[in-house]
């Protein structure tokens, strides 16, 4: 019987030739990412162990991205704890470089790796054929100290992509449509694997946007076949694959979906669930107070280009705040070079330093009671971006920017 990509990566990390969905395997991790959301808790627990040690410090990557620059004495203290610990132990450490997943994609992730991240959107790494999965700080601590963890081998849902997205339709619309189709727990405990000839026209930015959001369907990980596009990205960033895995032709999938990319339309996810999707036109006219272009999901140079093309020569609507937040320092510098930040600034947007920003409802751009936000962030849960009685709509960079100009939810002209 054939194996899926997920089964092959776990078998490899377990030092075995094979494993199957439902097995529980002890695995050795290739990399361990943690950010300022919970690292202070990990450090407290670590310091409470007797004679603690780090199994392999070269595998650890710590990134301050959620509350940077620090916005209160509490976060400053938590950052200091993380910074001091990282320096003392020689942990690879980033501060102010960008949102953790973007920094990982630009600098660390390799095809075939098994990566734990103390952040739910770690499944983004599948865009480069790596098995990334989110864990809490206790699981992280265990892996940091022992180098290992246990994993239930997931079943895989396979998505065969066909055709090509229409002009004005983006990867963001595609993944929101898929989550709407299978629901917010449609892939709970499972891997979501993407393959098919439709993949070849999707950039790495598109692929990250797709894989990153799979946790919103409950997925344990997301995986994409490694092709020339992925290999070119790796080469450009000076890395080689660890190993390239591909599902066998006779691999067993729990479900198979064929998705025609040509049929995808611009989508909005309405409050307060990511699977609560409707075509943009059904929300047309909904008044907004704030718009956000950024996050690990949609803050890459490709997304900023889309937004800048929509807003060039136009102005942000009166009474609307428009926050533009490049996902990393390199994205920021590239946007600067291409004149995109000029375009946003001229239009009246606020351009912020790379960080998680509005997406997670702390640090900056928090919305007040009764306010409405349209966002390229990852979640629209009740209270996610601020007051418990506020409203978050999720959409593509194009729809978010067009809405910032109009002052209400609307599609971008294509």
């Amino acid at each position: 019987m054939g194996m899926t990509m997920a089964e092959k990566i776990i078998a490899s990390a377990a030092g075995k030739s094979a494993c199957k969905a439902g097995d529980i395997e002890t695995v050795t991790l290739d990399r361990l990412m943690s950010n300022d959301g919970t690292t202070h808790l990990t450090i407290d627990m670590y310091n409470n162990l007797k004679n603690p040690h780090i199994a392999d410090v070269d595998k650890l990557v710590w990134i301050i991205d959620h509350n940077i620059p620090a916005d209160s004495p509490k976060t400053a203290a938590s950052h200091k704890k993380m910074r001091d610990f990282a320096r003392e132990h020689g942990i690879t450490f980033y501060e102010g470089e960008g949102v953790c997943h973007q920094v990982m994609m630009e600098n660390h992730v390799r095809p075939g790796e098994l990566i734990f991240g103390a952040d739910s959107h770690t499944c983004a790494y599948g865009a480069l054929g790596a098995f990334g999965t989110g864990v809490g700080c206790t699981d992280y601590l265990y892996a940091m100290v022992t180098g290992t963890s246990w994993l239930l081998v997931p079943e895989t849902i396979r998505f065969n992509l066909h055709g090509k997205l229409k002009k004005g339709v983006y990867a963001r619309d595609l993944i929101l449509s898929i989550i709407g189709k299978i629901s917010a727990n449609g892939a709970n405990y499972k891997a979501m694997e993407f393959a098919g000839e439709g993949l070849k026209d999707l950039s790495i930015a598109d692929r990250i946007a797709i894989c990153n959001l799979c946790v919103e369907a409950g997925a344990k990980t997301a995986l994409m076949e490694v092709d020339q596009v992925a290999l070119d990205y790796l080469k450009e960033h000076g890395r080689e694959p660890k190993e390239i895995f591909k599902s066998d032709d006779d691999a067993v999938f729990s479900d198979v979906f064929d998705i025609n990319l040509d049929e995808i339309e611009p989508i909005v996810a309405k409050p307060h669930f990511v699977d609560n999707i409707v075509p943009v036109k059904e929300c047309e006219g909904t008044k907004i107070d704030e718009a956000f272009l950024g996050s690990c999901n949609n803050g890459r140079i490709e997304d900023l280009r889309v937004g800048a093309a929509v807003i060039k020569g136009k102005k942000v609507a009166p009474k609307v705040r428009f926050l533009v937040v490049p996902a990393s320092r390199s994205v920021y510098k590239q946007a600067l070079k291409e004149g995109l930040l000029d375009i946003f600034m001229e239009a009246g947007a606020m351009v912020m330093n790379p960080n998680c920003s509005v997406c997670w409802g702390a640090c900056q751009g928090v919305i007040g009671e009764g306010e409405t936000l349209i966002s390229t962030g990852t979640r629209n849960f009740k209270g996610r971006a601020g007051h418990k009685d506020s409203f978050v709509y999720l959409a593509s960079a194009a729809t978010v920017t067009a809405s910032a100009i109009a002052g209400y939810i609307t599609s971008a002209e294509v």
Binding site: T38, L41, M45, L49, S120, G136, C137
Partner: protein
């Protein structure tokens, strides 16, 4: 007997503990804000030993471990749901919070009902018995110790 607090489907981690309270230094400080976006009064009403009954996908969203920690700190003895999101499931076990998947209970009980939970066997409510699966031995060990770190300390003879 445990008093039931009933919550809906898709109770996410931002409901369980909103972002603005994550930076608090202790879980005691976080307690009053648990579930506050949905039911601000709830945290103040929960008594030690009470239980939560919910629908599908309890704990979806972020990997913030403060979520199961705060539920445990409120004294909730267990959460019975139709299903749990996977990161929350691991985090809860790692913090010594018992989770039980049961498909029928949610549709047949009301908030305020009293239930008796016999781990690995059944839940009794309103004269009816609902079967539950037993947990694997290693997870039972973690739960009984009060979490993964405590279990490891115990196993290594440190506590």
């Amino acid at each position: 007997m445990s008093k039931i607090w009933k919550l809906d489907n898709d109770i996410d981690t931002d409901i369980i503990l909103p972002t603005e309270y994550l930076a608090f230094e202790t879980v005691e400080q976080m307690k009053p804000y648990a579930f506050s976006p949905l039911r601000p009064e709830l945290a103040g009403k929960i008594q030690p030993g009470d239980m939560i009954v919910a629908g599908n996908n309890f704990g979806c969203g972020s990997s913030r471990e403060q979520a199961p920690e705060v539920v445990k700190a409120l004294g909730i003895s267990c959460i019975v749901a139709k299903s749990f999101a996977r990161i929350f499931f691991r985090n809860a076990i790692n913090n010594g919070l018992l989770l039980i998947e049961q498909p029928d209970l949610y549709d047949e009980v009301n908030e305020g009902d009293e239930a008796e939970v016999i781990p690995g066997k059944e839940i009794k409510v309103n004269g009816k018995s609902y079967p539950i699966a037993s947990l694997p031995e290693n997870l039972t060990e973690i739960l009984e110790a009060g979490g993964l770190v405590k279990a490891m300390r115990k196993r290594n003879g440190l506590d």
